[in-house]
Each structure stands twice: as C-alpha cells, then as structure tokens.
C-alpha cells in the first residue's frame, strides 16, 4: 500500500512540475532603422539570449524594419537583445521581459 502511495505521489509531483513549468509568456517587438538615411533597416537578424534559457528563435526585420518575437518566457533575469548584420553583431542591449515589450524605433 505504501508503494502505491509513493507512486501516486511521484505522479502527482511530476504533473505539478509540468504545470508550473509553463509560466507567463511575453513578446518583444520593435523597429530598426539605419543611421545612414534614417530609413528602415531590413533583413537584419534579431534574437534574444538568456543566461539560463539559451537563445530564442531568430527573426528578421521586414521591409519596414519591424520585428516581433512571441512566446518569450517572463523571467526575473534580463535578456540580451542582439542584432546581427549577417554574422556580425552590430547591436546588443539588455531588456527585461515581464509581459509585452515594445522597444519602439531605434537606429543603428
């Protein structure tokens, strides 16, 4: 009987940990422009990187320089937002994601 109770306890604990693992999610969006002509900067790779979570899916700026990343776990530690021109890192800043984050327009 004690063994059965232990199995039920372990199963309950596993299910509870899975439920707690899916915490609140946020998004990050913004618009990149060029200091060359103050126009949009298209085709640049934007991604987030977190010390413990690793790297996010990459996204690319569209013809207006806009980018969006969804399903970003809300964490107390900061993320780094990085922008790459091809493989060259051209921008890196620190952001906190507790919900939706709109970085607005920023030029590089």
């Amino acid at each position: 009987m004690k063994k059965l109770q232990s199995i039920v306890f372990i199963l309950t604990l596993t299910m509870a940990s899975q439920t707690l693992g899916s915490g609140p999610m946020g998004f990050v969006q913004g618009s990149l422009c060029s200091l060359q002509n103050n126009g949009p900067a298209p085709g640049l790779l934007v991604s987030l990187v977190h010390q413990y979570l690793g790297r996010s899916s990459p996204t690319y700026t569209d013809q207006y320089g806009n980018f969006q990343l969804f399903n970003i776990p809300a964490r107390p530690e900061p993320y780094l937002i990085e922008v790459y021109w091809g493989q060259q890192l051209v921008y890196r800043n620190q952001i906190y994601v507790h919900g939706g984050v709109n970085l607005g327009r920023f030029c590089i």
Binding site: S34, L35, Q36, N37, G39, P40, A41, P42, G43, L44, L45, S47, L48, V49, H50, Q51, L53, G54, R55, S56, S57, P58, T59, Y60, D62, Q63, Q68, L69, F70, N71, I72, P73, L80, E82, Y84, W85, G86, Q87, L89, V90, Y91, R92, N93, Q94, I108
Partner: protein
Amino acid sequence: MNMFDIAIFCAAIAGLIMVIGGIILIYKGALVLASTDPSSALTIEWKKEFRLNTQAPGIAFFIIGLLFTLTSIFASKPTEIEPINIIGKVAEISEPITIAARSSKWILVGGSDGVVKGKIRPYVEAITLEISAPGYKPINIVHILDELKDRTIHFEQPIQMEQLVTGVVGTQIIDVPDEGAYASVNSPAKFGVSQ
C-alpha cells in the same frame, strides 16, 4: 491530444493492464503457467512466417498485451516530412541570403458578440518564401505545393533585390560580464516564436 492520440494512449494502457493483470492473476493463482499435453498446446501461426507453440496457454495474455503495446508504439511513430528543395539565384548581392518559409493563413470566420468559436483545418496548400539579406528589401514568393515538380522550387530568373541600406554606421554593443555564459548566435533555438 486528438482522438487518434487518445486511441494510441488507450491501446498502450490496455496492453500494460493486460500484462500487469496477467502477472497479478498468476500471483493469485487464478492463472497457472503450467504445461499441458503437447496435443492441446496453443499454436499461433501467421502465413508460415511466424509460428508460436506453447504448452502454457496463459502466456497468451502476455502476447496479446504486448501486441497492444507494440501496435500503439508503431502507430504513434511520427511520419517523416518530405523536404522541399529550393534552387535559384539572387542577382548582384554579396550579403548572406536568408530564406524564411511560411504556410498560408487559415482564417476562422465565426463567432459573434465577442465569442470566438469555430475550427481551423491546418493544411499546407501554399508556401511563401521570404528572401531577405541585410540591408535589402525582402521579397516574397508564393508557390502552390501541388504544382511543384519533384517538390523543388526553381527560381526561373535571378531574383533582383533592392538595396535600402549599405551597412551600419557604428555598433552599439553593451559589455556583459560573462559572455561565455550566453549561447552563440548559431546555437539552436530554445524558446520563442518568430513572425
């Protein structure tokens, strides 16, 4: 979890219950794994390729249970997605090119008074390729999958992309104390969905 997944799950559970139940029945003495006369032995035969002969018919419980489990494992094996080949050329460009592919939109029409209720049936009918390169205006090309020959997309002519920016004026990179603790740009994605 759809109905098929539920059926597979139930089959796997049924298989396990049969095996565990068989063991319990043997333990309680309701089922006896004892030899019978060779003349009354249980024989399972399939197309002369498979033949099982046992003098302990109780073992059939285990075999049936195992078949349920194996069938559910076989049925739940994910089908391999056939790749789509992309062949072509982008004219006069030295920057690295990236192609992002996405499927069509599935629109749900339904609901009133703010209540959303309905079904979408995701079926990849067309694929949109977004060709982008740093500083260039991205180009979208749509292809209908059923019209592809050998599941290959050929760009009939070199694609011309319009350059909007030639480079960045200066980098703005903050220092991080332990840069090695962060995954590199080429490491696999662990979270997030891009649009």
